[in-house]
Assembly symmetry: C2
DNA sequence: ACTCGTTATATTTATAGATACATAACGATT
DNA sequence: AATCGTTATGTATCTATAAATATAACGAGT
């Protein structure tokens, strides 16, 4: 019966969302499957939504995040750039640090 | 053209939201107006939504947050308890601290 | 008993966001 | 040029949440 403090964090650029938890999940699924459609299916997300998220991320990030290829052997695929992987890593660690920080902040109070 | 990190925080009890930014705004408006309907109008929120938020807060908090009175002189009104006021204060300060924390975390990275 | 402005509550309507569906485009391989 | 599995993109349909609307209940004061 105690209070818990929760948070959501995300990274913006010029007022638009670049990265949040959902997009990080998508990036991880892309890395695991090598395909946008398979990643979407794995997450129970529509392909269209996954696709528009990748567009938004590539458009807004300082460097490309995902490389998409159409046609050819296997029909195509999607891969993360090394910049995309570092985006995942920093987001995850900051998120963890934030949760720890908030928990200690709350325990200092007398609610 | 730099990244900014944003966050939303809230306090839960047993999986249910007790307090977030919107509810804090509502509590402030109640304190200022002394009335739930006026507070809702001030925030551009429907009365019904404001009312159900107060129910949720009073139900989930360890102590009452808002005292409502019906009928009588002036028709009734709503007031914050001192516990409600302390809820506002701690939420606001933790929120500010969190923003500062996240900003310093992001500047440490090389994105 | 009547008035007043408020709280209390149910029902209906709107709106936005996601989802489903459909189809085109792509290009290496055969 | 036919095939294949993927990316690319538009359109239509749900659906869940919020908002609007309507009405009842309340109780101190007159």
């Amino acid at each position: 019966m105690n209070y818990k403090i929760k948070s959501k964090i995300w990274i913006e650029t010029e007022g638009d969302i670049l990265l949040g938890k959902g997009r990080v999940n998508l990036l991880n699924a892309i890395e695991n499957t090598g395909s946008l459609s398979k990643a979407a299916k794995q997450l129970g997300m529509s392909y269209k939504k996954a696709w528009s998220l990748t567009q938004a991320m590539n458009e807004r990030a300082k460097k490309p995040v995902i490389i998409m290829s159409v046609g050819g052997k296997g029909g195509g695929g999607a891969k993360l750039t090394s910049y995309g992987k570092s985006l995942i890593n920093t987001f995850v660690t900051i998120n963890e640090n934030c949760n720890i920080f908030l928990e200690t902040q709350l325990t200092k109070t007398s609610l």
